[in-house]
């Protein structure tokens, strides 16, 4: 208790706490950034559709109708039907749930673990840091989708394992970003001062380091979700993720591949759906990055 009051006397939170100032500033810049707003609203809109959309559909995900197979888009089936006569529009709306859930959950798991590894590694430094960062280098030595592929090959193909695989594959990127910001914050003078006043490591990490890591992590999260969605749909497309008859978009593309000659729309629309979602996260990420960049002020 005593320490807290001393801390507050020396560093009045409203004035010298760099986090509060910069975070407010960051939110202000963010709310003025067009890309961040467009991307943000688009993401929100997609999430709402994914949650409530399925309640408004007239067709089920796996409602098979052999009388209307591979139909082109019409008033009855807005985006046409697939080779089993299932309504593609309905499947895409259902699929949005899977896609968003996989993207958000995998990056949330991997990001949380990565951020803590990065902060821990950067804060304590020394040999622990070297060893942890070498392990991260090893994980980063597997290019792109390959690490996820290797993990799925161990765990077996399923959408849940895809989430684990992408979580593991997101860890090193987040660890690096978090470590970088931690190193930058750790050497600030006020951290030394707080330490001298007797603040514990846990307190410094949670109250002072973590908030400073937040902004770069938001950018990374947005970019990582975009790439997680691409990777997950890629794995499902290869038959290593969601299994048919799941309306996962990558799995739908894989399903529709064989019918491209007669019914190209079966593969067209799930791909467009993937693009829209990935685009939303990329636009948002661009906006956040601009808002964070002090140079973009001019």
């Amino acid at each position: 208790m005593q320490m807290k009051s001393a801390q507050q006397k020396v560093f009045p939170p409203t004035q010298t706490n760099p986090r509060l100032r910069s975070f407010k500033d960051f939110m202000k810049r963010l709310s003025k950034n067009k890309a961040a707003l467009i991307g943000g609203y688009l993401i929100l809109f997609l999430i709402i559709i994914a949650i409530i959309g399925p309640y408004f559909l007239s067709h089920g995900t796996n409602e098979i109708s052999y009388s209307s197979r591979s139909q082109s888009p019409s008033l009855e089936n807005w985006l046409g039907t697939d080779q089993h006569g299932r309504d593609i529009f309905s499947r895409i709306i259902y699929g949005a749930r899977i896609t968003l859930l996989v993207g958000l959950l995998s990056v949330f798991i991997g990001g949380t673990i990565g951020v803590f590894i990065g902060i821990f590694s950067g804060y304590y430094g020394g040999k622990i840091d070297t060893v942890i960062m070498r392990i991260m280098d090893v994980l980063l030595a597997f290019p792109g989708i390959l690490l996820a592929l290797a993990i799925v090959s161990i765990l077996g193909p399923s959408i849940l394992n895809v989430i684990y695989a992408i979580a593991i594959y997101s860890i090193p990127t987040f660890a690096r970003v978090a470590r970088g910001s931690t190193l930058a914050t750790k050497n600030l003078e006020y951290i030394d001062a707080i330490k001298a006043l007797g603040a514990t490591d846990t307190k410094i990490i949670f109250k002072h380091i973590l908030p400073n890591v937040t902004s770069p992590i938001i950018v990374q999260t947005s970019v990582s979700i975009a790439s997680a969605i691409l990777t997950a749909s890629g794995l499902s497309f290869l038959g290593l993720g969601a299994q048919p008859p799941s309306p996962e978009w990558g799995a739908m593309l894989n399903d529709g591949r064989g019918y491209m000659y007669d019914a190209p729309h079966i593969a067209l629309f799930p791909g467009l759906a993937i693009i829209i979602v990935v685009l939303a996260f990329n636009i948002f990420g661009d906006g956040v990055r601009d808002a964070l960049d002090p140079k973009s002020n001019r």
């Binding site: 090959s153 593309l253 067209l268 791909g271 990935v278």
Partner: protein, 306 residues
């Protein structure tokens, strides 16, 4: 410089060892024993014992690892569990196909990305710039397997200009390289643009302009050289990204490369082939990044990497 190269080479060793440990453990942490995977569920104990004996699976785990490592260095990965032929024979011809695909796609993305990025930077905030950046954003957000399918739809099925499958002849190369290289081109275009814009605001550029140097020469001789430095690192990462992405592109275009082999054999649980392919792709990626570091250092002598 030589010191720097040696130091970077030494740093590769722990990473490559780590990669080999991870790849080695794939087979051991997967559920189900290797012998059962090879012989099938119904195999009797004697068969299983024989297989374990033959593959050295009864040895202590560290002995198994060192055997794996030293065999791998000699490019010996044992026999495929499915086809029975040596893994090295199966993958050797395919490695080249995947490298070709990745190299061509990298060249395409550098070429397209640089041109688009420079045009965008020189004409910043014009309609041209906006259109290029929107196209780049789409290119970045597009799954390469979907783009591949669409290219087949339009140019093979529709127009009949290019074959839809295979690898080797010039027309067969076109579509897969576009499918795989587009995302890279988008990333390089964005990177080139922001890097150019940064450089174009610097004092020495203003000096050059004040001296009356022509716009063309300012852009291509003075600015581009410095603007390319950050782009080089992206190119290295791109190459790796494309090696990974080749898994999808090869599947779409039925190309017999390493990536497609991995996918096929994961389904068949043919671990020696999967391990060898993953190990080779990761090693390639690590080596390319090493080369990128070296060239980065060469074009930018001012920077002292650690």
């Amino acid at each position: 410089m030589i010191q720097f190269v040696i130091r970077r080479l030494l740093q590769l060793i722990p990473v490559l060892l780590g990669v080999s440990i991870l790849v080695f453990s794939m087979m051991h942490i997967t559920p189900g024993s290797p012998a059962v995977i090879i012989a099938g569920e119904g195999a009797n104990q004697e068969t299983l014992d024989n297989i374990n004996q033959r593959l050295g699976l009864n040895d202590p785990i560290h002995v198994q690892y060192f055997n794996f490592l030293f065999d791998a260095i000699r490019f010996d990965f044992g026999n495929s569990w499915r086809s029975g032929i040596p893994v090295s024979e199966e993958i050797a011809p395919r490695i080249w196909v995947t490298i070709e695909l990745a190299v061509y796609s990298t060249i395409l993305s550098i070429f397209m990305g640089l041109i688009a990025g420079i045009i965008s930077a020189v004409r910043k905030y014009t309609m041209t710039d906006v259109i290029i950046m929107i196209v780049a954003l789409f290119g970045l957000s597009m799954p390469n397997f979907w783009l591949g399918l669409m290219l087949i739809q339009w140019f093979s099925v529709g127009l009949g200009w290019f074959p839809a499958t295979g690898w080797g002849s010039a027309p067969q190369v076109v579509l897969p390289v576009i499918a795989l290289g587009t995302a890279g081109a988008a990333i390089i275009a964005r990177m080139t643009r922001s890097s150019m814009l940064e450089v174009l605001t610097q004092d020495y550029i203003r000096t050059a302009r004040a001296k009356g140097v022509k716009q063309r020469i300012v852009v291509y001789r003075h600015a581009l050289k410095n603007a390319l430095i950050p782009v080089i690192t992206v190119v290295g990462l791109q190459f790796g990204f494309l090696l990974g992405g080749a898994v999808l592109t090869e599947t779409v275009f039925a190309i017999n490369g390493l990536g497609r082999l991995v996918v096929d054999r994961i389904a068949a649980r043919d671990f020696p082939v999967v391990q060898a392919s993953v190990l080779i792709i990761a090693t390639l990626f690590v080596l390319v990044n090493f080369l990128v570091d070296i060239s980065y250092r060469m074009v930018n002598k001012r920077i002292d990497l650690d």
